[in-house]
């Protein structure tokens, strides 16, 4: 009712009694130019060729475009939920996409291209040259799928990123040996940072499409009419020219699309991902278990680091001279007062000019040093909870301060610290999902990839939760048992 009233008011205000509601379209401004980016002149607005195409579609339907920000990996889920009617942002045409949603005719043809350092120009010409090498791309893309397929064939190591900028900076920095991504992204990065070359031979060809909810095929059909009309009248070409992505080959591609207008479904097969096949639980489970193993190993190593550093920090804060105490207090407050996500970025990207840590080591270090601050507070409180008479008893027996800490105070404090430590370990296990921002594919990231590929969070979400619980529940039980055994009085 309220919606109707609102629309009525809106209609009369603009003086159009038959005004249609605005066309809500979703895209990711983080994806940047030339797709969708915040307008430098007015950051509350967006611009890019996808923005202009969305406007064309909206106007062609007699509606006003309205932009909705959504993270790139969630566009398909969001359009199906009804957050908006059209999703666009360099979305790749894939068979799975067509199986799950209504998809427009492809409006742009791109190539997956390989970027390598200049010195490797002749060594790494195509994917098959990269056996055993680290190759970066965006997660949950056609390119990532190609890398996974190549991994099975040649043992190439796919590295998944959450953004399309750091793959290239890491290529230049030597952290990865190649990047496989859309030619548009590759060319944009070449202009921006340089320092690498793009191999001329495309690894694959793909197409950008707009996505609609499965039930909204009629809107898709209307949008297709608008797209074909704009291909014919040259306004799409104008847009692509404006954004510097037009080529004669694109014109030929338009002709093919238009001549196939009678049977648009033929275009559906245009996205030829080599080796792509129907992914099911059976194919994803091993990857999920492997990722769970990474989560577990990462958490154990980070916790071991957190415990060792935490003990040292706590001892320093209890026993150290004032200068040491002050420095350690600063460490603890900085680590606890800033997001662990930020710390991971600083360690992995920020320090890459000084020390170039492998992603896994940076993840262990970042999580470990962050949790060390929390651990040290637990140990400090536990050390201070030990009665003074226990320490004095140790002194009158002739034990040195170090022996008292090691033999009397430490062991008793450890028992007090055990329960909060276990809680922290369970928290660390879950926080380890943050390291996907520095390219470590752990359980949550793998689940997100899985969910994006199968188009549903239900099965991946349940599996992922089950795996986390398998780790955390026994831990909590184990700690409760130890606590009971060690409780006094």
């Amino acid at each position: 009712m309220m919606l109707v009233a609102l629309l009525a008011v809106r209609g009369s205000a603009s003086g159009q009694s038959t005004a249609k509601p605005p066309l809500r379209w979703g895209g990711d401004a983080e994806g940047g130019a030339p797709f969708v980016e915040a307008d430098p002149a007015d950051p509350s607005k967006v611009r890019g060729f996808d923005v202009e195409i969305a406007e064309m579609i909206a106007r062609g339907l007699g509606r006003e475009p309205r932009f909705v920000q959504v993270s790139w990996a969630s566009i398909e889920q969001s359009v199906e939920r009804g957050d908006f009617e059209v999703g666009m942002s360099g979305l790749e045409d894939r068979p799975e996409l067509r199986a799950r949603h209504s998809v427009s005719i492809p409006y742009f043809e791109f190539h997956e291209v390989l970027a390598v350092r200049p010195a490797d120009r002749n060594r790494f010409r195509r994917l098959s040259d990269l056996a055993g090498k680290r190759v970066a791309t965006l997660g949950a893309t056609m390119a990532y799928q190609m890398l996974l397929d190549e991994q099975a064939r040649s043992g190439l190591v796919p590295i998944s990123y959450d953004d399309d900028v750091h793959p290239y900076s890491d290529l230049v920095a030597g952290r990865v040996d190649a990047v496989l991504l859309d030619n548009i992204i590759a060319e944009r990065s070449l202009r921006r940072i340089g320092g690498f070359v793009i191999q001329p031979e495309p690894a694959a060809t793909g197409h950008y499409v707009a996505v609609f909810s499965r039930a909204n095929a009629s809107l898709r059909d209307s949008a297709n009419e608008v797209l074909r009309a704009r291909m014919r009248d040259g306004s799409l070409e104008q847009t692509f020219r404006r954004w510097g992505v037009w080529s004669p080959a694109q014109g030929e591609y338009f002709q093919r699309v238009l001549s196939a207008a009678a049977s648009p479904e033929r275009d559906a097969q245009a996205a030829a991902v080599p080796g792509a096949s129907d992914r099911s639980l059976r194919t994803y489970l091993p990857a999920l278990l492997r990722a769970a193993g990474i989560t577990l190993i990462l958490s154990f190593l980070a916790m071991a680091l957190a415990v060792s550093v935490g003990i040292a920090v706590a001892a320093g804060r209890v026993y150290g001279p004032p200068v040491v105490r002050a420095l350690l207090t600063v460490y603890v407050e900085v680590m606890r007062g800033t997001p662990v996500l930020l710390q991971l970025f600083v360690i992995y990207y920020g320090l890459s000019g000084v020390v170039r840590l492998p992603a896994f080591a940076a993840a262990v270090l970042g999580l470990g040093l962050n949790y060390a601050a929390y651990e040290s507070e637990i140990y400090r409180a536990a050390l201070q909870a030990i009665a003074r008479s226990q320490l004095e008893a140790g002194r009158t027996l002739g034990l040195s301060e170090w022996q008292i800490l090691r033999l009397v105070r430490g062991p008793q404090a450890l028992r007090l610290a055990l329960a909060p430590m276990t809680n922290d370990f369970v928290a660390l296990l879950k926080d380890s999902s943050l390291v996907s921002v520095i390219t470590v594919v752990e359980l949550t990231k793998q689940t997100a990839i899985y969910a994006t590929n199968v188009g549903s969070w239900v099965v991946p979400g349940l599996l992922c939760s089950a795996l986390y619980l398998v780790f955390s529940l026994p831990l909590s039980r184990f700690a409760r048992r130890l606590e009971r055994r060690w409780s006094w009085g």
């Binding site: 004095e392 027996l397 002739g398 033999l407 008793q412």
Partner: protein
């Protein structure tokens, strides 16, 4: 004269308040001396100063041949001579909660004196045997009764074979029967091995039954001293009389 303990002119002040105003005290080898006084009279401060657990401001302390001077408490590395010769039993026994009775007794011999575990275990078991708690060697402090814990704590303090044993209110957690038994045990400890024992207590019956000598502390000064039976039977100083008075007022013994 050869004494287990000689304290001359001991003074302790905290901020404006004088806690000890010049205490002179001697405990010869083989003697059990009771240090008595009302709460706040400074008994614990005397014991803690002798054990180098707190600094003092004036006087000297000669504890089993180790001399302590006024000023900050020396570093533990400088106190090794004192630690091996002076033992202390705390009021609330202060056994290490995470170690068994036997391990509590073995800890100092193994780690502070560097004995082998075999030798430390042998000595510890003999001490627990003598104190009648050998059958509780494997028990943790929380599993011991008050009397048992007290005995384990004494065994722990005796393991390094100190010449002077300081005890802070040893009877506070014991029932009357246990107090008598403790008196017998301590008597043997002093007479057989020639140790000096300085025991702070406000338990008049225990002092009379178990101690050779009594010194009475009041407002930071030593006001009366002498053989336990004489002082407690015929008190001269008002503070002593008040101590005895309190005992008669209190219910039970």
């Amino acid at each position: 004269m050869s004494g287990a303990l000689t304290v001359v002119g001991l003074r302790v002040a905290r901020a404006e308040r004088e806690i000890l105003r010049g205490v002179d005290l001697q405990v010869p080898a083989g003697e059990i001396c009771a240090l008595m006084g009302a709460s706040g009279s400074g008994k614990s401060t005397v014991l803690r100063s002798i054990a180098a657990l707190q600094p003092f401001d004036g006087g000297t302390i000669d504890a089993a041949g180790f001399t302590l001077k006024p000023g900050p408490v020396p570093r533990e590395s400088k106190l090794k001579g004192l630690r091996s010769r002076v033992g202390m039993v705390f009021q609330a026994h202060s056994l290490f909660e995470h170690l068994s009775a036997l391990d509590n007794v073995m800890l100092a011999p193994v780690h502070a004196l560097g004995w082998t575990r075999e030798k430390a275990r042998e000595v510890a078991m003999r001490l627990l045997e003598e104190l009648g708690v050998a059958h509780r060697a494997g028990a943790y402090p929380r599993e011991l009764s008050g009397g048992e814990a007290q005995r384990v704590a004494i065994a722990r303090a005796l393991a390094p074979d100190p010449m002077l044993l300081l005890m802070d209110e040893p009877t506070s957690a014991l029932d009357p029967a246990r107090r008598g038994a403790l008196g017998d045990t301590l008597g043997e400890l002093a007479r057989k091995s020639g140790r000096g024992l300085l025991i702070s207590t406000h338990d008049v019956d225990f002092a009379r039954g178990a101690c050779d000598r009594v010194v009475i502390l009041s407002e930071g000064r030593l006001v009366e001293e002498g053989p336990a039976r004489d002082v407690l039977a015929n008190p001269q100083h008002p503070a002593t009389r008040e101590l005895l008075q309190h005992r008669e007022d209190s219910p039970g013994r």
